[in-house]
């Protein structure tokens, strides 16, 4: 394992293979802690971690909060709706005020890309990106890679397909950076309106033929159709999308025998993935959620565990 030097976790772009391996290896050790009766270790005793969420979240926020608490850190939750932000305070001012209360890390989610980066330029606290706009969601990609490695034993050489709304997906972008760094082959597939051509420059292949993609892939990752980001009409109708690109038992008949189905959640059942498949034997969706806590514990430990 390589020595960890990062102070913030903003993005997987620019993160080395060794650094990703360090996170995944550390997460493996942390997974066991959540299976104990006493799910708590004193590693981050006395540290304070603030969750600053400008966008709704169930999984990510509770996952970060549990991860922090299982490491004995203290947590504070700030949701944009009921904070001073609704009184007109700027994001940076809010963050500076939080930092003035001597916090050690700020976990931030914001609808605009780049907000975590800006905060990291101005604050001494460690900044952890929990999703910024369409750009990046590094801990989601890390937990996806952890789950792939756990289920299939490796990442390098695997064919991973990311399906659906690539345009609006920070999960897709972070996974493309991470998976290609780890040596996987990433294909994106979806309606042309939702697959921006520049995605190829990130190292992913575009294939619009969903049946071919399902047939050749080791991992299928349908993404949520982001209703809140459909300001333009990208799709003729949701029903048509479900019929053409939704993963159902019929389409899976041609898939590999040991294929795994992942989904970053929340799922629109019957749209990008059928209920039968989401609950079926290929699905690792809930394993992803379990692993999310371990991966976030690893990230918090690596960023905050030692003296800086």
């Amino acid at each position: 394992m390589s020595e960890w030097t990062k102070h913030d976790l903003l993005d997987l772009q620019g993160m080395s293979k060794e650094e990703i391996e360090t996170v995944l290896e550390t997460a493996k050790s942390f997974k066991e802690i959540s299976t104990r009766d006493v799910k708590k270790v004193p590693a981050l005793r006395g540290k304070t971690i603030v969750m600053l969420f400008f966008e709704n979240s169930t999984r990510t926020r509770s996952s970060f909060e549990l991860a922090a608490k299982r490491l004995s850190a203290d947590t504070v939750n700030i949701a944009a709706g009921n904070s001073s932000l609704s009184k007109g305070e700027s994001v940076l001012d809010t963050a500076r005020n939080i930092e003035a209360m001597n916090v050690d890390a700020i976990v931030v989610r914001h609808p605009s890309s780049g907000v975590p980066y800006i905060l990291s330029q101005h604050l001494k606290a460690s900044i952890i990106n929990a999703g910024d706009g369409c750009r990046s969601h590094p801990t989601q990609a890390l937990l996806d890679m952890f789950t792939i490695q756990e289920k299939l034993g490796r990442i390098a050489g695997l064919k991973v397909a990311i399906l659906g709304d690539i345009r609006h997906s920070r999960v897709a972008r972070s996974n493309i950076w991470g998976l290609t760094t780890m040596g996987a082959e990433v294909t994106v597939c979806g309606p042309a309106t939702l697959v921006p051509p520049e995605i190829e420059a990130m190292g992913a292949r575009i294939n619009y033929d969903i049946d071919e993609v399902i047939k050749e892939s080791d991992v299928l990752m349908p993404l949520r159709i982001q209703m809140e980001r459909q300001e333009q009409k990208f799709l003729p109708s949701l029903r048509e999308y479900a019929k053409e690109f939704g993963i159902d038992a019929q389409k899976l008949k041609n898939a590999k025998k040991d294929v795994i189905i992942m989904h970053p959640g929340p799922t629109n059942r019957g749209l990008e993935v059928s209920a039968e498949v989401a609950d079926g034997k290929y699905s690792v969706i809930l394993d992803q959620v379990t692993n999310g806590v371990a991966v976030r514990m690893a990230v918090l430990y690596l960023l905050l565990g030692i003296k800086r």
Partner: protein, 203 residues
């Protein structure tokens, strides 16, 4: 001065060699000594606990885990039954975690059985300041409420900073604070088993 200045590489080499010579390394235990000590510890554990009932072994990563495995082999030979065995990683319980500069690697803790009401034998290679054992005790308590926790170490080198003592000791080695005691085991170090004492390297 200028005329006497020797070719620098030669001087550096000789200097390094002299420093190496000054750093004395003494072998305190060899393979057979270690095996005998482990066998004796196994007998003492069984004597004190009157057999293997409720007994279990927890080795502290990395070398304590190997030693626990070996003690268990002896117990198996003597009693015919091995006892449950676990591996404990104490990194997350260290009291100096926020004071050190290099990220310690966290490894998995593997304790697949309930510790409640068990006689737990904690196994480590060297007992020194006692801080590792303090961390291990904290960790063990998180896994349940053992009937007792007893400590077995291969080497006790003194210099305790906490009120902790061992119940089973392979060998007491009086040391000075600037010496290092190193336990070398085949499984972890790929070299023949031995315990060596050396002068601590200058930082």
């Amino acid at each position: 001065m200028g005329a006497n200045k020797p070719t620098s590489t030669y001087e550096v080499e000789v200097g390094a060699k002299q420093r190496r010579l000054k750093m004395k390394t003494v072998k305190i235990m060899d393979k057979d000594n270690i095996q005998r000590a482990i066998t004796r510890i196994a007998h003492e554990i069984l004597e004190k606990n009157r057999g293997v009932k409720n007994l279990c072994l927890i080795g502290i990563r990395t070398r304590g885990a190997v030693l626990a495995e070996r003690v268990n082999e002896c117990i198996q030979k003597i009693e015919g039954n091995a006892v449950p065995i676990g591996i404990l990683d104490i990194t997350l319980y260290r009291d100096d975690l926020t004071m050190i500069d290099v990220q310690p690697v966290v490894r998995e803790t593997l304790i697949k059985f309930d510790l409640t009401d068990k006689e737990v034998i904690l196994v480590d290679d060297v007992l020194f300041t006692g801080r590792t054992i303090r961390s291990a005790l904290d960790a063990l308590i998180d896994f349940g409420r053992p009937a007792s926790i007893q400590l077995a170490v291969l080497v006790d080198r003194g210099h305790r900073e906490l009120p902790i003592r061992a119940d089973y000791v392979g060998k007491n080695i009086p040391t000075s604070a600037n010496q290092n005691v190193q336990v070398i085991l085949k499984e972890t170090d790929g070299k023949e088993d031995q315990v060596i004492v050396e002068e601590r390297k200058r930082k």
